[in-house]
């Protein structure tokens, strides 16, 4: 196994929920003492239901959520960062190495910018390119990789369907050539046929651009298809963490089994097993 690209050690993220007059101030433990490491070149799945803390964990790795305690180490061979305590210049550099792909392809693109400007924005912000021609070159290169029609770069997002918007969103995340990408429910809002297309695109981009991907999803069957390692999160805690095949063939935790059995199967004669372990 290759060296970890990102390593999370005993990470906790707590949010205050308002103070009571007496007693302990109550906190929401969005992430509670989580440790995991993602190997370089890995396609790592993070699965959980709503409120499990998976999004918060992903954001923390991008320095977009406050860390209460614990450490996040990022080492891509060129730099070795403690993500929680980056200086200004280091943070800018880190931003070009770690990027985010959003869930909602409609909210993630500014309706007032052309596709070209949207994809070029990270380059301009991080001052990666020096001339307009160079920026255009980079934009066209990544747009082609994301299978966008280069003729369409002049258009505004309102001209595109959900699947095409998601490709624009991916192109923007990848234009600064990051090493690490967090895909937060990147296919949850898409129709199945487009979902398959975007998943295939992510897979091919990963090997082509040598990416490491943290794939956050509520959908176990999607994760099973693209990821090589999966962690199951529940109420801020990682319940189980194993290579995909091991986890799906032989789930250890009760909660994982419950999740797996709840997935509606395509076989009409296969019975859904409903467990009412937790009363909601």
């Amino acid at each position: 196994m290759s060296a970890p690209l990102i390593k999370v050690e005993n990470l906790s993220i707590h949010y205050p929920l308002g103070r009571r007059l007496f007693g302990q101030p109550s906190v929401l433990k969005a992430v509670d003492d989580v440790s995991l490491s993602i190997p370089k070149g890995g396609f790592f799945g993070l699965v959980g239901e709503s409120g499990s803390g998976k999004t918060t964990l992903g954001r923390a790795m991008l320095r977009a959520a406050p860390i209460t305690s614990g450490r996040i180490r990022f080492n891509d061979g060129e730099v070795d960062y403690d993500v929680g305590s980056l200086g200004k210049a280091e943070l800018r550099d880190y931003r070009s190495r770690a990027q985010l792909i959003f869930q909602d392809p409609y909210a993630a693109l500014s309706p007032r910018m052309t596709v070209r400007d949207i994809i070029a924005e990270p380059l301009e912000l991080m001052k990666i390119t020096t001339s307009r021609a160079e920026t255009d070159e980079r934009v066209r290169e990544i747009a082609a990789k994301c299978r966008l029609n280069l003729e369409h770069l002049r258009r505004f997002p309102h001209a595109f369907s959900g699947g095409q918007r998601q490709r624009i969103s991916i192109a923007r995340a990848l234009v600064c050539r990051p090493k690490f990408v967090v895909a937060d429910e990147a296919v949850a809002a898409l129709d199945v046929s487009i979902q398959a297309d975007i998943l295939n695109l992510l897979k091919s981009l990963k090997s082509e651009l040598d990416l490491t991907i943290l794939f956050i999803s509520h959908d176990l069957s999607v994760v099973a298809h693209v990821c090589d390692e999966v962690a199951v999160m529940y109420h801020g805690v990682i319940k189980e963490h194993a290579p995909t095949r091991t986890l799906f063939a032989n789930p250890q935790e009760d909660y994982t089994r419950r999740l797996l059995s709840a997935i509606p199967s395509l076989d009409p004669d296969h019975k859904l097993t409903v467990q009412r372990a937790t009363a909601d």
């Binding site: 239901e49 709503s50 369907s161 959900g162 699947g163 095409q164 129709d191 199945v192 046929s193 487009i194 979902q195 398959a196 297309d197 998943l199 295939n200 509520h218 959908d219 176990l220 069957s221 999607v222 099973a224 298809h225 995909t244 095949r245 799906f248 419950r258 999740l259 797996l260 059995s261 709840a262 997935i263 509606p264 199967s265 395509l266 076989d267 009409p268 004669d269 296969h270 859904l272 097993t273 409903v274 467990q275 009412r276 009363a279 909601d280």
Partner: protein
């Protein structure tokens, strides 16, 4: 089993600035008592618009073609839904004989009223129960859908309940008037899988218990496989394939149905590649001529007659139809 709803040649258009947009075209299906009919389709397939037509709920700029007919068979005879006009007549299909549950239960409960207040109000409108009887009945319904301590929950507000609870309360409300037909529009899409499984199980149990018909709308073939008896696959407002759920899913006759199934990640075969349907859904402004799916059908050769002619719904096997010309049916080539 007796027919509950017959939808015949339903064509729905919307008047817009760009002209008439066809959203549903020549759709026919029928639903029997005690049966779950799944309506599957991607976004823009017209499945929700079809469902709303059953309650005559579509927006003001809707145009139904004259040969469209929706007939609802209730205990008091047949009702031609599309000819209903007055609010009094419409109340039969809106909350009376037909109830609807939605994707987002939060949006269908008024935030300032307790769940009980809304359930009782609905019963007072649609039945001749007295207020106290209606309240008792509401508590009973909440109990039926598996809500614990229903006499306490009834005085709570929707935001005080969890997502799964809310969806249950919504189902209880929809069923309290004892509708003959329940329309469920993506009722499990916003829920977590574990809760989705509970809601699916609940709905199946309720069909057995109450014997009403359910029109179950979803984009998820897996959910359909687990709930429906019959399924109709829609694409761009047309039915591509319909029939018993086992046959349609196991031996799909239409390329679109096969495409949907192949695009779905399957847990029992992790090595199967995900095969997306090529191309993008055309905008509703440019409906393809002939078979609406021909622009994305990888199995068609250029110049095929599907580009010009609309294929009829041909019978693949008894009760199983696909929008194909008879010579293209599986087993005939």
């Amino acid at each position: 089993m007796t027919a509950l709803v017959d939808v015949e040649n339903l064509t729905i258009r919307f008047r817009t600035d760009e002209g008439l947009i066809t959203v549903v075209e020549n759709v026919s299906f029928s639903l029997r008592k005690g049966e779950v009919l799944g309506l599957v389709g991607e976004s823009g397939s017209g499945k929700s618009v079809t469902a709303k037509a059953l309650m005559h709920l579509n927006a003001g700029n809707v145009v139904y073609d004259p040969q469209s007919r929706i007939t609802l068979h209730t205990g008091d005879g047949a009702i031609d839904v599309l000819s209903l006009k007055t609010p009094k007549d419409l109340s039969v299909v809106r909350g009376g004989a037909v109830s609807m549950i939605f994707q987002e239960p939060m949006a269908s409960f008024a935030p300032a009223l307790t769940i009980g207040a809304q359930m009782v109000e609905q019963l007072l409108i649609h039945t001749d129960m007295s207020k106290s009887v209606a309240r008792k009945h509401s508590i009973e319904m909440l109990d039926r859908v598996g809500i614990k301590e229903p006499d306490k929950r009834i005085d709570q507000y929707a935001f005080e309940l969890s997502g799964g609870m809310r969806q249950r309360a919504m189902i209880a409300m929809a069923l309290s008037t004892n509708p003959a037909l329940l329309i469920a529009d993506e009722p499990t899409t916003a829920l977590d899988v574990t809760i989705q499984a509970q809601v699916i199980e609940l709905m199946k149990g309720l069909v057995d218990e109450f014997g009403m018909g359910i029109l179950f709308i979803t984009h998820d073939l897996g959910v359909i496989a687990q709930t429906a008896d019959e399924v109709a696959v829609m694409y761009l407002g047309r039915i591509m394939e319909k029939g018993p759920v086992r046959e349609v899913i196991r031996t799909p006759a239409h390329a679109y149905t096969r495409g949907l199934i192949n695009a779905l990640p399957k847990l029992d075969d992790l090595d199967a590649p995900l095969a997306p349907i090529p191309g993008d859904i055309p905008s509703p402004l440019e409906r393809p001529a002939g078979c609406v799916f021909h622009t994305r059908n990888p199995e068609l050769l250029p110049g095929s007659r599907y580009e010009r002619e609309v294929p009829p719904l041909s019978e693949v096997s008894p009760g199983h139809f696909a929008a194909l010309f008879p010579e293209d049916l599986p087993g005939r080539a």
